[in-house]
Amino acid sequence: MSDRQTKHKTADQEPVISVRGLVNRFGDNVVHDNLDLDVLPGEILGIVGGSGSGKSVLLRSIVGLKRPDEGCVEVFGQALDSLDSQQRSQMERRFGVLFQRGALFSSLNLQENIALPLIEHARLSRSDAEYLARVKLSLVGLPASAALQSPESLSGGMVKRAALARALALDPDVLFLDEPTAGLDPISAAAFDELLVTLRDALRFSVFLVTHDLDTLYSSCDRVAVISQKRVLAAGTLDEVAATQDDWVQAYFHGPRGRAAQQAASTHHLQE
């Protein structure tokens, strides 16, 4: 793990995403207050925080689905809302997003769900696109028979995997994953972690990974950002963040689950 971290530790590189002074409100409910965050090229950044702390809202404001009430979000050095619609569409195809609830298109079957961006953006023929779609489905661990199934007939875990396959469809430059391993069995979750690292190493994309899964944090994240009290409370390597003096952070990383995940990660590392 440490070896990978050093390889990708590129402090002086331009961040892929930089969020400055972000404020988000819903009525009187202030979700983010003056939040700053950077995502560096090629890193897997884990976002943790309590339920309702605003992780999904942060993701939505970065990909441009929610207009920030104040502050700015720059992606690849450009603010999304300063672009015209065509540039913006160009920008958005460099994103791959896995929504917390999957958000598969319910009127298309799985193969068509994944083929859609390939046909629309990469201008592949339908048969090529569906072929690639099946490769992606198999890559995320779905059986061939699932390709023709419709989203409503899938289990929760299968929805997550299919949504991951769709997020990966265009080989994006930035991957946004909202709780990808929630609802997966531990074996599939581990396979997911491995897949994510393999793809990231080969394709060098950055990953914005919202997760509650401590094992994922320990096994695949290069850096971790803790969202609490409406801002990024701490960001850095796992060890740095775990050392932060804050009750929530301490309870999170040094609670029973945190310790177990840490142990599992270190024994796994020793075996390698």
Binding site: S106, A122, L132, S138, P143, A144, T198
Partner: protein
């Protein structure tokens, strides 16, 4: 940029350039031009491979075969480790057959099956509607003696949405139709010097037919669709299942308040429709036929028996019941997808308008035979 993606010479295969999604069609074409034995080439060089992503990797695996790429670390040790890992992982993903079982049937087979399905569905739909009617009536009978379970708040809310908010459109529409009927009557009756009977025409048609029919058709479009979409998206979101598992009866909680609200709403809207239809007629009469308002009202009082009004009104609860039931039943039939919500909403509007007109025709026949 290299125009040659792959070169095959003397049993040596050289892979070059950017094997990425952006070049997918060119790559496919290049591979198609290779001789068949190229995939089994003795030597493979990946030296000049500039970039590769999952799409390119999939093509490469297809070209070289799953097994060969699976052992890539043995024959291409100089390839960067992360690319080896990517290729190996894609090969692993492609090792099981990717093609789902093809469904090939002769076209006439599919057509016959579709025809059969549709006839069967039509029959089932009627059965379901009858079953659902029974279920709703039984549930109604069950809660009749428990006023606490009448869900008054929900009923009032639905009355507001489907009734009160529909008053302007119903009034406007019937007013205009009333004016049109009066014009038509005036044009035809003038030839017989019987313009004065325009009043009877407007009164008969609105009290017996148009008041209730127009209101019912409007509600079928406005409210049956709303019911279907509401219940349908609840169904798609498993909310109805959640109610059931909590021991709550969706018929009692969701269907009955809607049905009751419609039973109250449609007669009231019918009354509004009748009045504003008459008003439309009266306006045309006074503006272009020189029949004063007082004369219009006087003739109404003298010539038109109250039975016509009662006959028209008596149909309203029946229509209301049918519209609400069809709207709710179609909502329950929705399956998971957004597409399905749309299909069933359409179907609920079409069915309820059809049923309303059918019942109205039957009622007209019946009333005529009875001499009412």
């Amino acid at each position: 940029m290299s125009a040659q993606w792959v070169v095959y010479q003397e049993d040596e295969l050289a892979i070059e350039g950017e094997w990425t999604l952006a070049h997918f069609p060119q790559l496919k074409a290049a591979i198609a031009h290779l001789p068949a034995q190229a995939g089994q080439a003795r030597e493979i060089s990946l030296e000049n491979l500039q970039a590769i992503d999952t799409a390119g990797a999939a093509l490469l695996v297809e070209l070289l075969g799953v097994e060969r790429v699976g052992e890539i670390h043995a024959w291409a040790p100089s390839l960067p480790a992360e690319r080896q890992a990517l290729l190996a992982r894609i090969a692993q993903a492609m090792s099981s057959s990717l093609a789902p079982k093809p469904v090939s049937e002769p076209w006439w087979h599919a057509m016959l099956a579709l025809l059969g399905q549709q006839v069967d569905a039509l029959w089932h739909q009627q059965l379901q509607l009858m079953g659902f009617t029974g279920l709703v009536v039984a549930t109604f009978a069950r809660i009749l003696w428990h006023p606490r379970r009448w869900r008054l708040t929900a009923i009032v809310a639905h009355i507001q949405q489907s009734g009160f908010n529909a008053v302007p459109i119903v009034a406007l529409l019937t007013f205009m139709v009333g004016a049109v009927v009066a014009f038509l009557g005036a044009t035809v009756l003038r030839n017989f010097g019987a313009t004065i009977y325009t009043i009877d025409l407007v009164a008969f048609s609105f009290l017996r037919e148009f008041g209730v029919l127009l209101a019912a058709i409007l509600l079928a479009g406005r409210t049956a669709s709303a019911f279907t979409a509401q219940l349908g998206s609840m169904k798609a979101n498993e909310e109805i299942d959640a109610l059931r598992t909590q021991g709550l009866d969706p018929i009692e909680l969701l269907v009955l308040p809607r049905v009751m609200a419609m039973l109250i709403t449609l007669p009231l809207l019918t009354f509004v429709g009748m009045l504003s239809g008459l008003a439309g007629g009266a306006m045309v009469a006074s503006l272009s036929l020189d029949i004063a308002l007082s004369q219009f009202i006087g003739t109404l009082e003298r010539d038109i028996a109250v039975t016509h009004f009662l006959l028209g009104l008596s149909k309203a609860p029946v229509f209301a019941f049918v519209i609400a039931l069809i709207g709710c039943l179609e909502g329950f039939k929705v399956k998971g997808s957004a597409q399905s919500v749309g299909e069933h909403t359409t179907s609920s509007v079409v069915q309820s308008i059809f049923m309303v007109i059918l019942l109205d025709a039957l009622a007209a026949l019946f009333f005529m035979e009875m001499g009412w």
